[in-house]
Symmetry: C2
Subunit: 256 residues, 2 copies
Amino acid sequence: MQDHEFSRIERAPAYRLVYNAIEREILTGRLRVGSPLPAELQLAEQFGVNRSTVREGIRLLEQSGLVERDGGKRPRISVPHYLDLASSASRALILHSVTFRELWEASMVVEPAIAESAAQHVNEAGLAELTINLEAMETMVVRLEGGGDPDLEAFVQLDRTFHEILAKVAGNRVLALAHEPVTSLFIPTGQIILPRLKTYRRVFDAHHHIFDCLKAKDAAKARSWMHKHMDDFRRAYELTELSLDAPLDAVSLGIS
Amino acid sequence: MQDHEFSRIERAPAYRLVYNAIEREILTGRLRVGSPLPAELQLAEQFGVNRSTVREGIRLLEQSGLVERDGGKRPRISVPHYLDLASSASRALILHSVTFRELWEASMVVEPAIAESAAQHVNEAGLAELTINLEAMETMVVRLEGGGDPDLEAFVQLDRTFHEILAKVAGNRVLALAHEPVTSLFIPTGQIILPRLKTYRRVFDAHHHIFDCLKAKDAAKARSWMHKHMDDFRRAYELTELSLDAPLDAVSLGIS
DNA sequence: ACCAATTTGTCCGTATGTATG
DNA sequence: TCATACATACGGACAAATTGG
């Protein structure tokens, strides 16, 4: 036994201390967003470390989104975009073998709420954006029904964009954050389902119904159409031989 | 007009190319999770860049959670935890001046769904965890009603833990991700509300009711109690002079 | 439009502490 | 205990790009 216990001494590497120090300056506003980061040499002098060490600290800031670099210009201090950070969280979900069922359950919770809120907050600009998206999808559907070869990638992208516009229109950034995994992981599985079941028209119709509800500002109906739309997605998934409880692996989502 | 348009040439710095290359190896499984990262010098040789450049690339991996260091040991390849990434996204929400109303609306969507799912999936271990949490909160409430001075920090922490256990029990990692901002931003505002309205008992009672529903596996009732609980939170917020549409600034949440 | 100073990107070499066998 | 391998950190150097006169 000892007379006195010393608390464990924590020795973070210097580059991490640099990161912490600069992060703190940004979060407390002493380094203002938009202004350029001080020069590496200057920081090295102030912190009393080597320039290489400062550079390593800056890489951490860069990856956490607090520093942004635009070409070869001076790096600027920036506010990380929550959707960017959310998308790396979504990627992490895949690495954790998240299942289709989990994604679908979440979508059944989040997407109808977004549709409802979107119907309440939509404006002309939002309707215009959605119109462009719908028209693009319609021409694509018509071409496919005429026997054209499907550009799946483009179709799924339009699908995804529709839901992203909705999330933006809903005007709730926390819901948009919750919604991110759905567009970035759930919607792309359409690339597997669509060519087998050829439900292009069905997807388009659902989007169009939701759009009509938004135009009529009918929040309840928007919610219920979105609910149906998401449930359709699950049914289509089940109609293929895919299991709801199989993990979405990285390969199938084109991350490789 | 030009005869030919060249696609924009992208010149990412070498350290970022190193990051991309290693990230790719990890995501495709060619570098396996848990194994140590190759030596810096070895990587430098393979990529044909300097060791310092490799180091900067590794810092990016480190911050994105794909590389973990444990003391002075060899850095190991790891899978980033989605909840960690979500919490930095939550911090970003604050920097974007997210409002209490946005958080509350999201909580009204996500938390009842979590309570419902938790009631369906709860097991003995989960109930035991919740019991410990509830007992701790009860003793705290009793002490406060006896005139003790409130340890707000501890109380809010218990509140937060309760909801986190629920999210874990619900067994849906996408919902847990969506739920993260609620516990990390919304619940802590209790530190502002509670001392003014002294609704400690009310919070405890709500938790207890939800717990009973879980024990009885009554999903619908669990949902409705959680709904009420979240709505209580908003009412309490309104009873103070705080505006629902004011941004939650960093200071009030103790990030500074 | 040109020039000079500044700054970043990248490289080389070296020293030191520590972990592992 | 010793030797090797490795991460951390330092110092100096130069080319290319940016900035500001």
